[in-house]
């Protein structure tokens, strides 16, 4: 910061610099001329040179405005130093941020996070075959029964807690995206916004086709796919292939936009966990607190959940679970719910499972 000493030197006295109109017009003319130049040069493609040229012209115009209109030329040098240091710090900001962002190498996630690249067993998975339907039935058993029920009638154990309720595959009414296999395939890939139908994008494409065919088989009245339907999901029926894997290079925007619906479960409302301090160590309480509290919340109210297609449901709180039999509870806890985020805890003995079951029932 150059310093201007005491200002008793009346160098510029009372007659401060007054900008003559003639000079003002000359500068204005130059500015207009340079604007025309910059618009004109933008039409030619000089490749990498275009950007520096545009910036150079803009800088000349900016300097004209600063030096003449803002009178930096015959102002005390201190003000110019002050003003131009700001651009120095802006440059530091750009250069050092750039040193990170432009030197990371290719680390960005391209496609959606698909499960392990297992090889495809089916040539044309979009064409329904008995083997595909059987594979679909087996996957349905793991992935979908908790909401859609064993027979796909939308009466699964968790169905009561869900608004809107899960689809009943036996009826024709109420299908949001349509009930052709390709349409079911799209629903499986992106889920349904505003409902808790999760996106199963982490399942390979052929599994999703298998599920679609099984769901269609529940109510054979459904119409078949036409080539245009298949094209809508990026499938060319003439050639073999994975069945529409060429998804867009990043997480589809429509899925991303679904992500903002956040269930805010008010902790105060949830009944407090039966805090019996003298519960023996290793009982249901201790196991619950260590393994389950992460998703299901300290007092079973379901932690602050995010609805990015995968939302740990606060099953513990739903009325319909009061009647759930012990073996259904045991199967969910030991095998988990693949596709959903509920992992299986295989290494639990029957006694521990009983403890946990009692503890969870007491928690409500």
């Amino acid at each position: 910061m150059a310093h201007d000493h005491k200002h008793d030197d009346k160098k510029h006295g009372h007659h401060h610099y007054v900008l003559p109109n003639s000079l003002a017009f000359k500068v204005f003319g130059a500015l207009i001329f340079l604007t025309i130049i910059t618009v004109w040069t933008a039409h030619f493609d000089f490749g990498a040179f275009n950007f520096p040229l545009a910036m150079f012209i803009a800088t000349i115009k900016a300097l004209l405005v600063c030096m003449i209109f803002m009178n930096l030329k015959n102002d005390v040098k201190e003000n110019s130093v002050i003003f131009f240091t700001s651009f120095l710090f802006l440059a530091i900001f750009i250069v050092l941020t750039g040193s990170d962002i432009f030197f990371r190498g290719d680390v960005y996630v391209k496609g959606p996070l698909v499960a392990g690249a297992s090889k495809s067993k089916f040539k044309k998975p979009w064409v329904s075959t008995a083997e595909l339907v059987a594979h679909g039935k087996e996957l349905f058993g793991q992935q979908c029964t908790s909401c859609h029920g064993a027979e796909g009638l939308g009466n699964g154990p968790a169905a009561a807690a869900l608004v809107p309720p899960p689809r009943n595959f036996a009826q024709n009414a109420g299908w949001k995206n349509g009930y052709k296999p390709s349409q079911i395939f799209k629903t499986l890939k992106e889920g349904i916004k505003g409902s808790s139908m999760a996106s199963f994008a982490t399942l390979p494409a052929e599994d999703r086709w298998a599920l679609a065919h099984y769901v269609v088989s529940i109510n054979p009245a459904h119409a078949k796919d036409t080539t245009s339907d298949l094209a809508a999901v990026g499938v060319d029926p003439s050639k073999d292939g994975m069945g529409g894997e060429s998804s867009s290079p990043t997480i589809p925007v429509s899925v991303a936009m679904a992500k903002l619906a956040v269930a805010d479960i008010n902790v105060a409302v949830a009944s407090s966990v039966a805090k019996n301090p003298d519960a023996p160590v290793g009982s249901g309480a201790a196991y619950y607190q260590s393994k389950c509290v992460g998703c299901h919340g300290v007092s079973g109210e379901g932690a602050l959940v995010r609805n990015m297609g995968v939302s740990p449901k606060a099953y513990l709180k739903t009325g319909s679970l009061s009647g759930v039999p012990f073996d259904r509870f045991k199967s969910v806890v030991t095998k988990g719910l693949p596709g959903d985020v509920m992992p299986g805890y295989g290494n639990l003995s029957n006694a521990q499972l009983q403890d946990l079951y009692n503890y969870v029932k007491s928690a409500r």
Binding site: H7, L19, P20, A24, T38, L260
Partner: protein
């Protein structure tokens, strides 16, 4: 509540006298301090708007093709007219300041009015641009109309980013234009109240600085957004 006790007083025939604040030695001292204070304020404006230019630089570096494709959706014609409008308003502002310095009060009032009018024209053109963008769904990030611009999204999924930057940069610049108009109207009120003249014109010059700075920012915004090579 200005401390009106024993400060210096500066007059000019036909205008109100100006009382120099008590902690300054004389009018020049106050003028130099105020001017330098304005320059330091300019530094903060450069760095605040600079943040947006940094985001622009980073994302243009990451996705040059997307920027080239997305910028085609902006109308160079409207951008160019706005540039000319702002440059003219910068001219009228500079002449208004020198008119005040020469004591030509009515000429200054006229020029200030012209500057405000031109700023109004700038905002009107901006209004048409925005309504066209909103109508065709070219909105920032989450609000981007994917159906209307399906093919742009298909080959440039990150195109909404360009429009996020476009709306943020031109939006905040537009806000500064509105603030500038308010300041100039305030100066016009005080000019008509005969407060300014060769003896005291600091506020006019400082508002002039602010307005030239707003024009300066647009001089960079225009090529960066509209003329992506």
């Amino acid at each position: 509540m200005s401390d009106a006790h024993h400060g210096h007083v500066v007059e000019h025939p036909g205008s109100k006298p100006h009382v120099v604040a008590h902690h300054f030695n004389d009018a020049d001292h106050e003028f130099d301090a105020s001017k330098q204070g304005m320059w330091v304020f300019m530094v903060t404006e450069v760095l605040m708007l600079g943040g947006l230019f940094v985001a622009y630089a980073i994302f243009r570096g990451l996705y040059p093709e997307m920027f080239k494709a997305a910028h085609a959706y902006l109308s160079v014609k409207m951008g160019a007219t706005n540039t000319v409008v702002l440059l003219t308003s910068s001219l009228t502002m500079a002449m208004a300041v020198s008119a005040t310095q020469r004591g030509e009060r009515n000429k200054a009032l006229g020029l200030l009015a012209a500057t405000v009018a031109l700023a109004g024209v700038f905002l009107v053109v901006k209004y048409f641009e925005y309504s066209h963008k909103i109508h065709s769904g070219l909105l920032p990030g989450g609000l981007f109309g994917t159906e209307q611009n399906a093919e742009l999204i298909k080959n440039f999924p990150k195109a909404p980013l360009f429009f996020s930057l476009y709306f943020m940069m031109t939006g905040i610049h537009g806000l500064h234009v509105v603030i500038g108009m308010g300041l100039i109207l305030w100066i016009m009120k005080r000019t008509s109240a005969k407060e300014f003249g060769p003896h005291f014109y600091t506020p006019v010059e400082l508002v002039g600085f602010y307005w030239h700075f707003v024009d300066l920012v647009w001089i960079y915004l225009f090529p960066l957004l509209y003329l992506v090579g």
